[in-house]
């Protein structure tokens, strides 16, 4: 029995077997960096696997090594918190393609050079497959629950549909079963901003200064999609930044401009541009009905869940226009048609897509109740 831990534990596992990918390639020596909190019980039945969103990583609870800020869900994960580490052993792994210790485009290929754009295009299911391999290595047969918001929700759906025996429950927050044309369009803007930056150099920017301007613009565009119009209006309105008058120039006159520029710039300190390309591509490729075609040959989401005994809970937010309520409701209807036990609720919160990370007491009650 491991000793109880208060601080999260960080570790990296190199998968013992090659990882086959949906694109047909195979990756050798895949590293999976992960954080754990809480104590694994003797029959390994108290495990909750958290999946992180696009620009997050395994640092759920612990201080982020690059930013020095608290983990992305420290508010909700910990002793006595909504996801109570006095009861649950919580694992979160950096996704395949990421840049915080798991194998990604910045990793060194067998020829001694970084993969860069030679890294294979990966899918959401490939990310999940790497994490299933981590569970295998840790000897964890069945999870108490998988939980994810946004891209994490896609992984939770993919996990539950492809490996239904490996979890008893799946909690999917502010997510979707497939990327819409609008979702793909926003991501393409970001990717083109990165690729248009001369410092990108076809991906071969090495370990030095990469396409920071391009990555910052990508982050700025994406960040707008994470907020609601109402939330932006409340926070910034047309307020000017540290000045009394408009300058009749192109400085960041408006607070919202200054905020976005700051978001963009600070993002480049902690994220790799090629990782951003690969992970957004994986999200764009995600279509669960296509991924798990079922016996009828595909196209119907319900088939992806046929015979599933996994308990599902879906949460959406009324101000989230990135993955709006209709997406979650569609998943709930598909699960219903498959006869799976499913809950779905749209919660009111003013913060847009980012609501799942912020203070929404109703979400806390739903999560705690669902986890039991």
């Amino acid at each position: 029995m491991p000793e109880p831990v208060l601080q999260p534990v960080n570790d990296t596992l190199v998968l013992p077997a090659p990882l086959p990918l949906d694109g047909g390639q195979v990756l050798e020596n895949v590293a999976v960096a992960y954080e754990t909190s809480g104590t694994l019980n003797s029959d390994k039945s108290n495990v909750v696997l958290l999946f992180h969103a696009l620009t997050m990583d395994q640092h759920v609870v612990g201080t982020h090594p690059k930013t020095g800020k608290p983990g992305w869900w420290a508010k909700s994960v910990g002793p006595g918190k909504v996801i109570d580490t006095d009861h649950f052993f919580v694992i979160c792994a950096n996704v395949l393609g990421g840049c915080m210790g798991s194998t990604g485009p910045a990793s060194i290929a067998p020829d001694g050079q970084p993969y860069a754009m030679r890294f294979p295009v990966i899918t959401i299911r490939d990310m999940v497959r790497a994490q299933v391999a981590l569970l295998d290595a840790l000897g964890i047969e069945q999870l108490h629950a998988v939980i994810g918001g946004s891209m994490g929700g896609m992984q939770a759906l993919s996990f539950a549909a492809n490996w239904p025996a490996r979890t008893r429950a799946a909690l999917v927050i502010a997510s979707t079963a497939r990327h819409s044309a609008q979702n793909i369009a926003f991501h393409e803007v970001g990717r083109q901003a990165i690729m248009a930056d001369p410092k990108w150099k076809g991906g071969d920017y090495g370990s030095g200064k990469g396409p920071e301007n391009g990555l910052a613009v990508a982050r700025m565009a994406a960040h707008i999609t994470y907020l609601s119009e109402e939330g932006m209006h409340e926070k910034f309105g047309r307020k000017l930044q540290d000045r009394a008058e408009k300058t009749f120039g192109f400085d960041a006159d408006f607070q919202v401009e200054s905020y976005l520029r700051h978001q963009g710039l600070s993002f480049t300190d902690r994220f790799d541009a090629n990782s951003y390309l690969y992970i957004t591509r994986a999200m764009d490729y995600f279509d669960l009905a296509e991924e798990v075609p079922g016996e009828d040959g595909g196209g119907k989401l319900a088939s992806a869940f046929a015979g599933s005994e996994v308990r599902f809970c879906l949460i959406s937010f009324d101000t989230d226009w990135l993955y709006p309520t209709s997406e979650s409701r569609g998943i709930a209807h598909a699960l219903n048609a498959a006869g799976a036990p499913v809950s779905f609720v749209e919660l009111s919160a003013p913060f847009g897509h980012d609501s799942f990370l912020l203070d929404v007491p109703a979400q806390d009650r739903v999560i705690a109740g669902f986890l039991g």
Binding site: R311, C313, R329, A332, H333, N336, A337, G339, P341, V342, S343, F344, V345, E346, L347, S348, A362, R365, V366, A368, G369, F370, G372
Partner: protein, 197 residues
């Protein structure tokens, strides 16, 4: 359960067989579902419009989908439940006849409960006051009530006969007292029907 079930819900709970698959349409805070799960080992699912109620249900460990009886029953497969339950909700739907048809499509049997608009207090209010009634069971004024299709015991029996549904059982309540079917048209505040196709 620390709080006693509403009398019509208690009646329904008493007539659901053990281990049944149940869909509670308009399940509110999940009180009936929790009793069915805990005392009847039922596999209970719910459909509820109000997000606070849905959150409350999920917090109780129940499987409930936020949705609308008029629109969302269409997403449930045929005969996927032993019982579909519609308690105190029929009179709030846009098309009670269609909702009833959907209930008996997704459920092999359906429990339907509603406040009887021909109770003598309601009749008296209309007859002597000329006003839409505001009573214990219908506490909201006409302009803000969610009850858009008031229905009486006789109306409901006529609809059941018109549609050719089978009447499997009927129970009538005034407060928590049982009222005989013969006196129900005047004296029942609440009616509970069990139907099949």
């Amino acid at each position: 359960m620390s709080v006693a079930l509403r009398p019509d819900l208690a009646l329904i709970a008493a007539h659901v067989g053990p281990g049944a698959r149940v869909l509670d349409v308009g399940c509110g805070d999940g009180a009936l579902m929790a009793v069915l799960r805990d005392t009847r080992a039922a596999d209970a699912r719910g459909l509820e419009l109000d997000q606070h109620n849905v959150a409350e249900c999920v917090a109780r460990g129940l499987s409930v989908i936020q949705g609308d009886a008029d629109a969302d029953l269409a997403y449930y497969p045929d005969a996927s439940f032993d019982y579909a339950i519609l308690s105190q909700t029929l009179q709030t739907t846009k098309r009670p006849d269609l909702v009833l048809g959907e209930l008996l499509r997704v459920g092999r049997k359906a429990f339907v409960s509603f406040p009887n608009f021909a109770h003598w207090r309601v009749r008296a209010s209309l007859l002597w006051g000329g006003r839409m009634p505001v009573t214990r069971l219908l506490p909201v004024a006409w302009y803000e009530t969610p009850n858009i299709h008031h229905v009486t015991v006789r109306d409901f029996r006529a609809l059941v006969a018109d549609q050719g549904y089978k009447l499997e059982g009927e129970w009538f309540l005034s407060g928590d007292h049982a009222i005989s079917p013969a006196a129900a048209a005047w004296r029942a505040e609440h009616a509970v029907f069990l139907l099949s196709r």
